[in-house]
Symmetry: C2
DNA sequence: GAGGCTAGTGACAGCCGCTGACAATTGACA
DNA sequence: TGTCAATTGTCAGCGGCTGTCACTAGCCTC
């Protein structure tokens, strides 16, 4: 069920095309997975593949960000890296897939962070700490692939491009389902009987989306800004659900 | 800002193509709108247009539902109604637009319902009553266009078709923004200063999405089922946010 | 270190969604 | 009935995406 984005390109003994029909992903340490002997040897072939993929990704993001997503053609991207259009599609399932690649990376980071929260924390607290924590650590992972600055601009692009936003939101929902199961597990509940895990996660996800949107729309694109927005908004969940709102809070 | 789905086809003195580049929508009684003298004369031309649109819509939904969204081509839909492909695109912005047409209809019903809630109700209560109420009244409006049974099946299709679900979720987000503004207005707050309206709506929307998904995945597709699911899940928001979950609730 | 194996790539060909442009038809209205 | 404007069909074409097939280049074995 869990899919972790493969940043290293160490796809082990891959069987089919570059990344078996796009995605550049590999199943890994999820709910259950066979133990893998870490990453022993890169291999020239793999390195080359990885370089091509990163080059494509970077070219794509730069073009998207500079001239807009819709106005960028796959031919352009492929051309910028000097490979055939067909090759692009061997690395990415489509334009969207390339545009959202880094999102997937951050998502898997977040999920991992949730997994590592100590079990005594209340669900919402665990989620809260997990996000705040991942905001701090995700940077490095991204920098391995493309400059973070490019990632920031890509994020804003996604928020403002209907086609991308749509797919991004769908992904979010999938992740919510996954996290709901995680939470249910933590609490020893059956996700199909007890509504609370899914509700808690939906609430949390809703707030995350609002903050993400506001962050993307605002001026300050620093990590500090998103951290603070997140914390503030989470703090307001209680008041927002109160019976009567005084005209007071904030 | 508000767009109401035009079921009647009474587009007044339309200026351009059938529905000016798709959507079949018309601006109407929203935050502010000029008073219109109701709907005086259908006019043969209008009626014909409306018939064509409904025929296309129905053919599209039936094909989608019976053979799948992706496997249905626009040519097929147009062919089923015996019009040119080009004509289809004059009535709908695309395949997606046709598939989600009824969703838009229900959405505008919901928004209208929210507008009509008495101002003394607390935000979440107003939202709750608005949904439950619209579940009861939306049926008729839909039946005017296609059999409700077809709509139900379409709903399930949307939930299970990634491309459609994505767009549906994006729409939902837009609607949340609109409702957040409505709520802020009700409460006399500034939506850009006070986080509560957006948060409350996000929470509400999150729960709605969960219930919608579960409903679509379940067996009982009756209105009664969705009503009950909705009510139950909304009741669980409080408990889900509690610090400690006893293994009790439900 | 030569040869075989196979992953990765390029070059086509082709389907499908969608759009612009223009001509032909048809309802609306004087 | 004739003019005007709204609808529609036809044609041409772009761009995303996929299947196929031959070719090149790492990789592995003997």
């Amino acid at each position: 069920m869990t899919e972790t984005v493969d940043t290293t390109g160490t796809a082990g003994t891959s069987t089919a095309a570059p990344a078996s029909a796009a995605h550049g992903t590999e199943p890994s340490a999820g709910t259950a997975a066979a133990a893998e002997p870490a990453a022993p040897r890169p291999g020239l072939r793999e390195r080359k593949k990885r370089r091509t993929r990163n080059a494509l990704l970077r070219a794509a993001l730069e073009l998207f960000v500079s001239q807009g997503y819709e106005r960028t053609t796959v031919d352009e991207i492929a051309g910028a890296v000097d490979v055939s259009q067909r090759t692009f599609f061997r690395y990415f399932a489509g334009k969207e897939d390339a545009a959202l690649f880094l999102q997937r990376l951050t998502e898997s980071h977040f999920i991992a962070a949730v997994r590592e929260r100590p079990p005594h924390e209340a669900p919402l607290e665990a989620l809260r700490r997990a996000v705040l924590e991942s905001w701090d650590t995700i940077g490095e992972a991204i920098e391995e692939v493309v400059p973070i600055e490019l990632h920031m601009r890509t994020y804003r692009l996604i928020e403002s491009t209907p086609a991308l936003l749509a797919v991004h939101l769908r992904r979010s929902e999938e992740i919510e389902e996954e996290i709901a199961r995680l939470i249910a597990e933590r609490e020893g509940l059956d996700v199909d009987t007890d509504p609370r895990p899914r509700i808690a996660v939906a609430v949390f996800g809703g707030v995350m989306r609002v903050t993400g949107r506001l962050w993307g729309a605002g001026e300050d694109t620093s990590v500090a800004a998103i951290r603070e927005l997140t914390a503030t908004y989470l703090d307001h969940v209680g008041p927002a659900l109160a019976e009567k709102w005084g005209t007071a809070p904030r």
